[in-house]
């Protein structure tokens, strides 16, 4: 029964990781920008939701909308005001990454100053587990997480495959120059990607706020997961990022069967490290030129 419980935990956690990773993978795959501040987007969204819902006791729909607005605004701000100027004159991977890192540091500290540095969480009956079978506990929130993951991912696929903007985004990840030739603006598409990618953090941010809780430093953990899942899944493949997120969540939990808890985090990174050494293109990614 322990194995089954850990498996289900793995799927719950994996669904969240998949949601988080897909946003980053979309941005990174389309624009090649190493958006390290994606973790900061998550933090902002989660804290806005927490503040409005738990502290100001606003209606949850209002809190969700405000969180979405905050996340999208931040993502677009990063793209327009920070990445764009850098890319205009130099745009090497390094400069963009460093600027993103700096932004992440600023957000983490501002959030700490405004909301306090301790641990906060949103209290809701949805996070309480119900005993489905003797020894098997599942919370409604996990069901919501899995549902959200499926819905959002499905919607994203439809958007990318069926709409014009979506096709433009896919073209952008393949060949930005060619996109310009066809009369589309890579700049505008890039902004849309950032808005979309940032929007994708919302379900994960809210569910994390209600389940494991928040602290300003949570961005590090989020970033590590997104990065690991994106690379293991293959850069440029959203399906890969989602699968990898699921896989990482499951391996983290199943490792508990055999190893002590102190090694769970390490397992994720051993997996990442091995993939980078032996299969950098990940599961579904295109082979990368070394």
């Amino acid at each position: 029964m322990l194995l089954l419980q850990l498996l289900i935990n793995g799927v719950q956690v994996g669904a969240l990781y998949a949601l988080i990773a897909v946003g980053f993978s979309l941005i990174f795959g389309s624009t090649k920008v190493f958006h390290f501040a994606h973790g900061a987007t998550f933090t902002i969204a989660a804290y806005i939701f927490y503040y409005l819902y738990s502290v100001s006791e606003a209606h949850w729909i209002l809190a969700v909308l405000a969180a979405t607005a905050g996340a999208v605004a931040f993502g677009v701000f990063m793209d327009r005001c920070i990445y764009a100027p850098i890319q205009r004159h130099e745009g090497s991977f390094f400069t963009v990454f460093v600027a993103s890192l700096g932004a992440g540091i600023i957000v983490q500290n501002l959030v700490g100053m405004i909301f306090g540095r301790g641990f906060v969480s949103v209290t809701t009956p949805l996070s309480r587990s119900i005993e489905l079978l003797p020894g098997l506990y599942v919370a409604p929130l996990s069901g919501i997480a899995i549902l959200c993951a499926i819905v959002f991912f499905g919607a994203l696929q439809i958007f990318l495959m069926r709409t014009n903007v979506g096709m433009g985004l896919r073209a952008l990840s393949e060949n930005p120059e060619l996109v310009r030739v066809y009369g589309l603006s890579p700049r505008r598409l890039s902004t849309i990607v950032f808005a979309l990618g940032s929007l994708l953090v919302i379900p994960a941010a809210i569910i994390t706020a209600a389940s494991s809780g928040l602290n300003p430093a949570i961005a590090h953990h989020i970033m590590l997961i997104s990065l690991a899942a994106t690379i293991v899944g293959g850069v440029g493949s959203l399906r890969g990022a989602a699968c990898a997120g699921l896989l990482l969540g499951m391996s983290e939990n199943l490792a508990l069967m055999y190893l002590g808890p102190q090694w769970s985090e390490a397992v994720t990174f051993i997996v990442l490290f091995l993939f980078i050494l032996f299969r950098p293109s990940g599961f579904f990614g295109r082979a990368i030129a070394s």
Binding site: E90, T95, F97, G102, H220, F273, L277, P280, S290
Partner: protein
């Protein structure tokens, strides 16, 4: 007051060595490692363990620490050979997290979360260093040594090869340069020199624990190199000085609430990183954006 300044100079020298060695692989070899704190830790723990169990002699403990770090650096060199850019950053992040876990769990060697205490003072021919002034002189001497070694290396053909690889790996390969060997060597040299700083740190504090070798430290070191200026000799030293003095500087600004000083200081260097990347990617010491080669 003098003793306070001596303490600061010692710690700045140690951090400057770390920044210089990080700059060696970042600014010159194009290897963006976020795992630098791990090698700092390896050097510190090895020297401390050696001093506690075998001998506290400088000429034994430090080379052993350097060797340990150089050998372990192969773990970092492996992904460096396979991938670049973002992928390498991810691998180094993974190594950093892994390193911290090992430091925390390997109680026999690192003392686990409790760390190692009672590290004996470093000895030179049987004479143990006791005063802070002596440690400051030692730290400055090591800093000078590291600067000398890196300068000589960079001016040599090895250095030119490194820059060639940084600017265009495929071109360097086409010219017959053994890219793999050069990259591995540069990572090993950087790690070995980092271990010197680690050993100094362990001897000076007399106590080390995993808290000094976590991701935050790696990020801080990277900030020092970036803000000071990558690919320059003076840059990392300037960066180290600036970022180490910031907390003290801020604490003298009486109008800032004491509880927020740490946050304000981090915000300051985060903002510095962003602004520098937009307007002056070469850092404070480096070339302005107009001079940066495309």
């Amino acid at each position: 007051m003098l003793a306070y300044i001596i303490n600061l100079v010692t710690l700045i020298s140690i951090n400057a060595v770390l920044a210089i060695t990080l700059n060696f692989i970042m600014g010159y070899a194009g290897i963006f490692s976020m795992a630098h704190a791990v090698f700092f830790g390896v050097g510190a723990y090895t020297a401390a363990y050696f001093a506690l169990n075998v001998s506290a002699s400088f000429f034994l403990a430090v080379p052993v620490a350097m060797l340990a770090a150089a050998v372990l650096s192969l773990v970092l060199a492996l992904p460096a050979l396979r991938v670049r850019g973002e992928y390498f950053v991810a691998a180094s992040l993974g190594l950093q997290v892994l390193g911290v876990t090992i430091f925390s769990e390997w109680k026999g060697f690192t003392g686990g979360l409790g760390g190692l205490i009672g590290i004996p003072p470093v000895e030179f021919f049987g004479y143990g260093l006791s005063s802070n002034t002596q440690y400051m002189v030692l730290a400055l001497a090591c800093l000078l040594l590291v600067v000398l070694v890196t300068t000589v290396l960079l001016r040599s053909s090895f250095g030119r090869n490194l820059k060639a690889i940084r600017d265009s790996e495929s071109a360097a390969h086409a010219f017959g340069k053994n890219v793999a060997t050069i990259k591995t060597l540069s990572v090993a040299i950087s790690a070995a020199l980092t271990a010197v700083a680690g050993a100094l740190y362990a001897f000076y504090l007399g106590f080390i624990n995993v808290e000094s070798f976590m991701l935050d430290t790696s990020v801080l070191l990277m900030a020092m190199v970036i803000i000071g200026g990558t690919g320059t000799l003076l840059g990392p030293i300037v960066g180290a000085m600036l970022l180490m003095l910031l907390p003290s500087l801020f604490s003298y600004m009486w109008f800032l609430p004491a509880t927020e000083i740490g946050s304000i200081q981090q915000i300051a260097y985060g903002a510095a990183m962003i602004l520098l990347m937009i307007y002056r990617p070469g850092g404070l010491v480096g070339a302005s954006k107009k001079q940066v080669a495309k």
